[in-house]
Amino acid sequence: MQFKAMVLSNVELSPGYFRMKMTAPQELASSAPGQFLMLKVNDAIDPLLRRPFGLFDVGSFLPEYAGCGAQIYCEILYKVVGKGTKLLSALHHGDLVDLLAPLGKGFDLGPAGEEKVLVGGGVGLAPLYYLAKELKNRGEKVRLFAGGRNRDDILCITEFERLGVETYVATDDGTLGERGFVTQVLEPHLAPGTRIFACGPTPMLNAVAKMAQKSGVPCQVSMEAYMACGVGACLGCVMKGANHTEETPDYRCVCKDGPVFDSFELQWS
């Protein structure tokens, strides 16, 4: 659906990373972790297109107005990388933004009793928090593996821990957690009975998908692509399906068929 959301807060968590909370309509309460929103940062034509962000959290809160019932909020976690996110980072409490949400296909949480393994690279942590919350609500065992270049890229670990998630951290420079790739930390933990949910840079997802395949562990990945419409209409955001060839092409829309895919659905390089 399309709606105007009021910014409730917009806080810089670590250099260049922001967490923004916005009001949302009741319908958003039935969104699924892994779904995303498309946000128009202003009414102008610059930037022209909406920007996609994963749902970091959805929940309800009690506004500080007398007699006001519980309201729904949604949150995003974003990194300032260009024009749109720079403008976004300047928004304040009370500003209005136009949203399309919830969009796309979220994570399949899988059967109860499995060990749920969340793997996030940098701002790829964003959709995993909402996921972790839902999984913990169901009483599942959840581990989070978070990676980044340095400690500034590792976000909201305390929040995950507060949910009861066991967390593992790796950074390229060793400034937080183990030094190295998060996939190295992850590998020993993969075993039958685990299920992977991953989001982050494509090379990381590539490595995780291969690792999962080797270990025979089901793995879902949340992908990114340059998007215009977000609703499956422009065909701008497609990725190659596993069996894609030049002759028998098989493209999937990240916005509609994804952003979450089973890793074996896609073609990895």
């Binding site: 128009k40 340059y226 998007m227 422009c234 955001c237 493209y251």
Partner: protein, 305 residues
């Protein structure tokens, strides 16, 4: 005051208002059903359809530019048969005319696709996209060569009894020459403009942003060029014209009508605001009410020069 009369007709296609959705920007209609009332707009134009399903180009396929966007989707579509089987049944239940946009990689394909659509219930008319390279003739674009365009349009005309709209490319020296060639070949209406060919470069990677290198520029950036071409063609050709290019608001749409368009198409705007087509039709009506104009048709070509 009575509500203004917003209805227009293009080559016999009756529409409740002049706002159509542009090919390639509105999927097959269903994608937008959650965001607007499909029965509030004038007509819907499908994604460009070809004889066989088409995979389209590798990614990245889109990139934003100043006041516009480039796309190189590569005309990905399900193909004419899958369209008829899978997409058309849904559209038949919507009480809004559906116009099939079609193209071919060769002259013959144009004729073939047109004939498959002929006599098909639920398709009110066809719009021929001639901005495609002719595979057989070494890639020369049908829409930039008057005689190639004439051939395409004549052939399609032979293969259809439906109203025939020809969509013109802006990437030409003289759009009026192209318009006249298409009119002479039997077009019932003209729509313009398709996208301007452009390019974006990723400075860091020293590569074109789009995998296809070049793409089509759309959005508010191209509106002045589109308005100019609509005006030129409307002066020179007596066919009804559909104005396209950077329309974001009801006011934009009405400007195109003053320039000579009987109807308009909304493209890129639907990405920014999925309810754009409905909103634009409403804004047009509001303008008419405020200015006490009884019929939107009275504005067509009403520009004083």
């Amino acid at each position: 005051m009575q509500r203004p009369d917003m209805s227009v007709a293009i080559a016999g296609i009756e529409m409740r208002n002049p706002v159509m959705t542009a090919s390639g920007t509105f999927g097959y209609g269903a994608e937008f059903a959650d965001y607007l009332n499909l029965e509030s707009i004038g007509a819907m134009i499908t994604k460009g359809l070809s004889l066989k399903p088409k995979a389209g180009n590798p990614t990245p396929r889109i990139v934003e530019t100043s006041g516009g966007m480039l796309n190189a989707i590569g005309l990905q579509n399900v193909g004419i048969d899958a369209f008829i089987e899978q997409k058309l049944p849904y559209l038949k239940n919507v009480n809004t005319p559906v116009i099939a946009n079609l193209y071919g990689n060769t002259l013959e394909e144009y004729g073939e696709v047109a004939s498959r659509l002929d006599g098909l219930a639920g398709v009110a008319g066809i719009e021929v996209n001639i901005s495609c390279p002719n595979v057989k003739q070494g890639g020369i674009v049908f829409g930039t060569d008057p005689s190639a365009a004439q051939e395409v349009v004549s052939l399609v005309k032979k293969n259809t009894s439906k109203p025939l709209i020809v969509k013109l490319s802006p990437n030409v020296t003289d759009v009026v020459v192209m318009a006249k060639a298409c009119a002479d070949a039997g077009a019932d209406a003209l729509s313009l403009i398709n996208t301007l060919t452009g390019m974006a470069i990723d400075l860091e990677r020293r590569r074109p942003v789009l995998a296809n290198v070049t793409g089509g520029l759309s959005g508010p950036a191209i509106k002045p060029v589109a308005l100019r071409m609509v005006w030129q063609v409307a002066k020179a050709v007596s066919l009804p014209i559909i104005g396209i290019g950077g329309i974001m608001t009801g006011r934009d749409a009405l400007e195109f009508m003053l320039a000579g368009a009987t109807a308009v198409q909304v493209g890129t705007a639907s990405f920014l605001d999925p309810s754009a087509a409905q909103r634009i039709a409403r804004e047009m009506e509001e303008y008419l009410v405020e200015h006490d104009i009884a019929s939107v048709r009275s504005l067509v070509g009403a520009l004083e020069v």
